[in-house]
Symmetry: C2
Subunit: 242 residues, 2 copies
Amino acid sequence: MLFFTQCFGAVLDLIHLRFQHYKAKRVFSAAGQLVCVVNPTHSLKYAPTRCAAAQASTEQGVLPPCHHHEAVHDPQLVPCTCPLFSCPWEGHLEVVVSHLRQTHRINILQGAEIVFLATDMHLPAPTDWIIMHSCLGHQFLLVLRKQEKYEGHPQFFATMMLIGTPTQADNFTYRLELNRNQRRLKWEATPRSVLECVDSVISDGDCLVLNTSLAQLFSDNGSLAIGIAITTSKVHNSEAEM
Amino acid sequence: MLFFTQCFGAVLDLIHLRFQHYKAKRVFSAAGQLVCVVNPTHSLKYAPTRCAAAQASTEQGVLPPCHHHEAVHDPQLVPCTCPLFSCPWEGHLEVVVSHLRQTHRINILQGAEIVFLATDMHLPAPTDWIIMHSCLGHQFLLVLRKQEKYEGHPQFFATMMLIGTPTQADNFTYRLELNRNQRRLKWEATPRSVLECVDSVISDGDCLVLNTSLAQLFSDNGSLAIGIAITTSKVHNSEAEM
């Protein structure tokens, strides 16, 4: 009986997923973009100070270890977290992609422009929606996070990080675009490196930030579609260092 | 002695204003855009429920009265506030522009694309920066407001309103653009009519919203430059009603 109940649940999930995918394809079909449905990750625990020493992470190509080591003195092993989960893994940049795919089952998508469809936006904070994006010979990580920076007021933070060094990251520009109901919001910036903690990017607010009300305006039936594009860096038009 | 001190203060203010204007012109000169330095308005008092009945404001071309009238029963005199200040004025749409210019000394600028340079962003909430923009045969009102929706956490809200009816407003699209230090944020939407209260637009979050940290990233020495463009409405590319 339990087996049949579980089977029925799985079939329902599959139908729901298919429906979300169909809806996203319908919306973005005009642009011929690849749509990826991304389900949330619920099991995050945020340690407020875990990134304190992450800024010392440098060009040495070493991914900060995934949890805090009190006794570490090797300057290449900076105490921080994995960019996604509070997992105990640590390693070099070259093996991050395989770790994320195998251990955390993060999907990887190809293409210069894709659509990231985050489902179940109503889930309580903290929640992450994550995907890898392979483009222009590199892999990028898109993280959408629902977090309560101020208690009782959840916000959504979206950023793109390069699975590479900060110097490599400087060669790219990423764009996140929300477009619905005669409203459009675009964020363009240089991606950060995964050697810098995603937590610090979010606490600095140096990413696309959405209040709950704005997220609701752009979402449809609990799902938020974010168009993603990555290009090689060029000086922005009409921009100068002010 | 007091006279000389005041004179010296006025000269200093003038130099500061000239410096801000020069800086903004330098930044946006490439685009040949008109730059307007907008100083803040400090004397606002927000009554949390003053817009409660504003949604009943209709196509009748009557600007809601500027303060609450308990005894009003005329359906054309909706109890609400002036779009800007808690001033006692009330009147019809046709005379709003002259009221704003004469009573509140709001500047009016011509041109399809202008740059709004809001100074003294550090001032405590609530503070408004306001300008009128004459374009495509109509007058628009840009309101940038610093407000604490959540106590202790001021945010910036920017929106554009047509000094006209909601039906007229539907014919336009406005764009607000922040561009600094290899980051760009764009908001595009249909302007609201001044017959709808600016307070309700902000409380709905249906506008460009900036956290303090994001505002700091885009501002330079306490000033925030917002590029403004208004066009006649067309269906957004790659957009569909989801």
